[in-house]
């Protein structure tokens, strides 16, 4: 996978994190299964963002 592709994944994870976060807080009832799912999705997005950004910014 090229670094450009990894950078795109990082960008997508960044926006996905925000979108899931907004949806989870604004549209889903607290304590519901949807809220738990949104939280899991946010965690996965944050982890993806961190790992991909690390790969992009690390020296070869």
């Amino acid at each position: 996978m090229t670094r450009n592709a990894v950078a795109r994944i990082a960008g997508a994870a960044f926006f996905l994190y925000i979108i899931i976060g907004i949806a989870g807080l604004a549209l889903v009832r607290p304590g519901s299964a949807g809220a738990a799912l949104a939280q899991a999705g946010q965690s996965a997005s944050a982890l993806t963002l961190a790992v991909t950004l690390y790969l992009v910014t690390s020296p070869a």
Binding site: N4, I18, I22, A50, V56, T57, P59
Partner: protein, 233 residues
């Protein structure tokens, strides 16, 4: 005159009303006029930067001679500063407003903080790699694994600020800035005890905002590099 597109003014109004309370949609002319003005302003403002940016490979600019070339370290610091600023502004908005606005600002602040964490790790790993990794792990724990770990994320950020302040003391960062970050760390750590946090609120937000705000400005203006060892001085 009503818009008859699938995304109509009524749909926009209902969604906006859910987010921000009572919202009244003006007529079509002000809506279209405002949208046209915004698009025009955005296009005019971004033509020159876009033309310049299109000639630069961003990934290459971020990666090239990382840690060796001072100008790239400075760029990294400034990118970190920009995302720190987004975190700071969005986090403050989320804190002050609450409700639906906080639901929008909160995730933006958290996502930006993930970027800040990774970039600060890259900046400070030349100072102390393991400690920088530990700091990044603590910060990411607050964002990634908090549902599993539980607790107030501000406590994690307190530990993070203390670790970053130690790394700053070991770098060329101004000592007063490192001291402010230590102060910020202890401020966030007051949230470990809810009764103490409640008694000190809202003053216990002050150290964090002061310390992290100062770090944001310093990253935007200057950057960070390891303090030269005595044998090389």
């Amino acid at each position: 005159m009503r818009l008859s597109l699938p995304v109509s003014a009524d749909n926009v109004q209902s969604v906006a009303a859910k987010l921000f309370g009572i919202v009244q949609v003006p007529g079509a002319v002000p809506l279209v006029g405002a949208a046209a003005a915004l698009v025009t302003a955005a296009v005019v403002a971004s033509i020159a930067p876009a033309a310049l940016a299109s000639r630069v490979d961003v990934v290459q600019a971020l990666r090239s001679e990382w840690g060796k070339d001072w100008s790239n370290v400075l760029n990294t610091a400034r990118i970190a500063g920009v995302f720190y600023l987004i975190t700071f502004v969005a986090g403050t908005i989320a804190l002050v407003t609450g409700g639906k606005v906080a639901a929008v600002a909160g995730p933006i602040a958290a996502a930006s903080y993930v970027v800040v964490t990774v970039l600060l790790y890259q900046l400070f790993k030349s100072v102390h790699k393991r400690l920088s990794l530990l700091a990044a792990g603590v910060s990411l724990s607050a964002t990634v694994a908090r549902p599993l770990i539980g607790g107030n994320p501000l406590v994690f950020f307190g530990v993070y600020c203390l670790l970053i302040s130690y790394l700053m003391f070991q770098s060329t960062a101004p000592r007063i800035l490192a001291g402010l970050m230590t102060f910020a760390g202890f401020g966030w750590l007051t949230f470990a005890l809810p009764s103490l946090a409640h008694a000190l609120s809202p003053y216990n937000y002050g150290p964090g905002m002061l310390g992290e705000g100062a770090l944001t400005l310093w990253l935007l203006l200057f950057g960070v590099r390891p303090r030269p060892s005595p044998r090389h001085a």
